[in-house]
């Protein structure tokens, strides 16, 4: 007979033990995470006529909307503005879709959680990792844009996109794990997140460069502080450097984002593991 398990009301490991357990569970169930990712990709592609083509078309359409808005209506001129803005839309679409998916990643598996014992932390992790495909597909229209319209902007710094993306991934993962757990208790998270994300986008140097926004920061100290603290400020700037300007990413700032994100990740995993035993009861 195999190992004996004791479920005891009194025995819960300490904070470090919980964090270690969380990481160990995610790693130990990597095959399950793989299945979940594949299932997710299959579903996303299967319910529309154009399927996964939408991952290519969607950022292009969104780019067109902003190009019209900013260059025609606000009459601003930035050279190669479509590329300028695409460098921000691509990672932002990745971020928002991952956050939206992971918020409901635990609650949507309600039935399974009540039937089978498995580490719930794999659910937001799988949602985040599945999102990478979204980003990868987005690189196709980016390549198209560069080759067809801006061949002179193609530079070797494009190879540094994964470095910036990795930074974003760590930050996203920390946030996703936290929000997935909170949503079990408060189903409002999705609604709130939608609006917070929109505001977040406008307070990030996405449509404008960080320099243009810093003028605003001088007039409005609150906005200035938010821009300073916003991890997407260095992330967007870095994407833009490597894609649009052909310069180096802001390595120092990215490193700071990674450091803070890793701390956040530990806190998120701890929080998730702390509240995990209540999931089956609350759902």
């Amino acid at each position: 007979m195999s190992a004996s398990t004791t479920y005891d009301s009194a025995s819960q490991p300490g904070p470090v033990g919980l964090i270690v357990e969380g990481f160990r569970e995610a790693w130990g169930r990597r095959r399950l995470i793989g299945y979940l990712i594949r299932a997710d990709l299959k579903k996303k592609g299967s319910d529309t006529v154009l399927g996964n083509l939408w991952w290519i078309i969607d950022p292009l359409l969104q780019m067109s909307v902003y190009v019209v808005l900013v260059t025609v209506i606000f009459a601003r001129s930035t050279p190669a503005y479509p590329l300028f803005i695409f460098a921000a839309i691509l990672p932002w679409k990745w971020f928002t879709s991952v956050i939206n998916d992971s918020v409901v990643s635990v609650t949507s598996q309600e039935q399974l959680i009540k039937q089978v014992l498995f580490p719930k932390i794999i659910l937001p992790v799988a949602a985040v990792l599945a999102g990478i495909a979204n980003f990868a597909f987005g690189l196709i229209p980016l390549a198209g844009l560069l080759v067809i319209f801006y061949p002179d902007r193609i530079s070797p710094t494009l190879l540094l996109i994964p470095v910036v993306a990795a930074t974003q991934l760590v930050f996203t993962l920390a946030l996703a794990i936290f929000l997935a757990a909170v949503n079990v208790f408060f189903r409002d998270v999705g609604n709130v997140a939608r609006h917070v994300l929109r505001l977040w986008f406008y307070l990030s140097p996405a449509l404008y460069s960080a320099d243009q926004l810093s003028n605003l920061g001088q007039k409005e100290p609150v906005v200035g502080a938010l821009l300073q603290a916003n991890p997407f400020t260095p992330i967007f700037e870095s994407y833009r450097n490597v894609i649009y300007s052909g310069t180096m990413p802001l390595f120092g700032h990215l490193l700071q984002v990674v450091a803070v994100s890793l701390v956040l990740l530990l806190v998120s995993v701890l929080f998730f593991k702390r509240v995990e035993p209540a999931f089956a009861k609350v759902l």
């Binding site: 479920y7 005891d8 299932a39 014992l117 035993p277």
Partner: protein, 296 residues
């Protein structure tokens, strides 16, 4: 059968249990049966403040509302029992008695708020059959996914894939999305997966009533086969015939307490007596209030 008063001594004496374990023919010559589950004073408390699908607003109202009913609710209280391999334990009782909660505790899905539970061996549970399937994936993909969720290795799942498909016997549908399945087909696939894991303990919640006559016979045979393989089974059911025919022990749960434990026939008799009394009370109430039933 032992009728169990509330708040009985914490850990029942060993000898009492020995009396309740009838020797199955298959167990002869195996020596002492292995203790599979030992539950000591299990209690499960639900907080009524932080419950189902709360919104922030409701939580705040709940926090600030001092009055307004109890803060929590014990779905199970002082539940103690043991299970050895080869046993088939029936859990019976009226709706809302805590039967399903007990299975969730045994499966490790809910951690008891009081008491302790020791489980030796691998537990398989598909408590509500098929409800956890991914609607957009095919039957075959769902088998792989379920196997991974239950912690099987890839090789184990691969090995069991064909037997599961064969047992579920849903033909071409195995490669169609689950959303195209009928309820019966879903239940058959769920049953096939749950019983394929070669578990030491199998937890079944109201699953024998599913499917058509043929499949019901087949699943009966499967469960009996598992019992013969000296695996233990905990079964929640309203099918009293099954309990008296195929289970060798039963516990009666009422309001989260174990009211009686022992020979299935006796426990079933007590359960039926209690429900008859309940029905009579309700009928009397209806007669008195002219159709308006007031909850006690």
């Amino acid at each position: 059968m032992r009728v169990i008063p509330r708040r009985r001594p914490a850990v029942p004496a060993e000898d009492q249990f020995d009396a309740t374990v009838p020797a199955l023919p298959a167990l002869e010559g195996r020596g002492a049966p292995d203790l599979v589950i030992s539950a000591r004073d299990i209690g499960v408390r639900y907080s009524l403040r932080l419950t189902r699908k709360n919104t922030v607003r409701q939580t705040f109202t709940n926090l600030f509302r001092r009055t307004g009913g109890p803060r929590d609710f014990w779905a199970l209280r002082d539940v103690s029992f043991r299970l050895v391999s080869g046993e088939s334990l029936a859990v019976i009782g009226p709706n809302g008695a805590g039967k399903s909660t007990l299975l969730q505790v045994l499966a490790g899905i809910i951690v008891p708020s009081a008491g302790a539970l020791t489980v030796n061996g691998r537990i398989s549970s598909l408590l509500t059959l098929g409800a956890g399937f991914d609607q957009d994936l095919t039957g075959r993909e769902n088998i792989l996914l379920a196997g991974a969720f239950m912690g099987m290795t890839h090789a184990e799942t691969k090995e069991r894939l064909e037997p599961i498909v064969e047992f579920a016997d849903i033909g071409e549908f195995i490669d169609a999305p689950i959303r195209t399945y009928s309820t019966g087909m879903r239940a058959r696939l769920g049953f096939a997966i749950a019983t394929s894991v070669d578990p030491d303990v199998l937890l079944l919640d109201e699953v024998l009533a599913t499917g058509d006559q043929v499949f019901r016979e087949k699943s009966k045979a499967r469960v009996l086969e598992l019992v013969r393989q000296a695996k233990a089974i905990v079964l929640v059911t309203h099918d009293m015939t099954w309990v008296t025919e195929y289970c060798n022990r039963a516990i009666l749960l009422e309001h989260g307490h174990v009211v009686a434990e022992g020979d299935p026939a006796d426990v079933v008799a007590m359960h039926q007596e209690h429900s008859a009394r309940e029905r009579a009370q309700k009928a009397a109430q209806i007669a008195r209030y002219g159709g308006v039933v007031k909850r006690p």
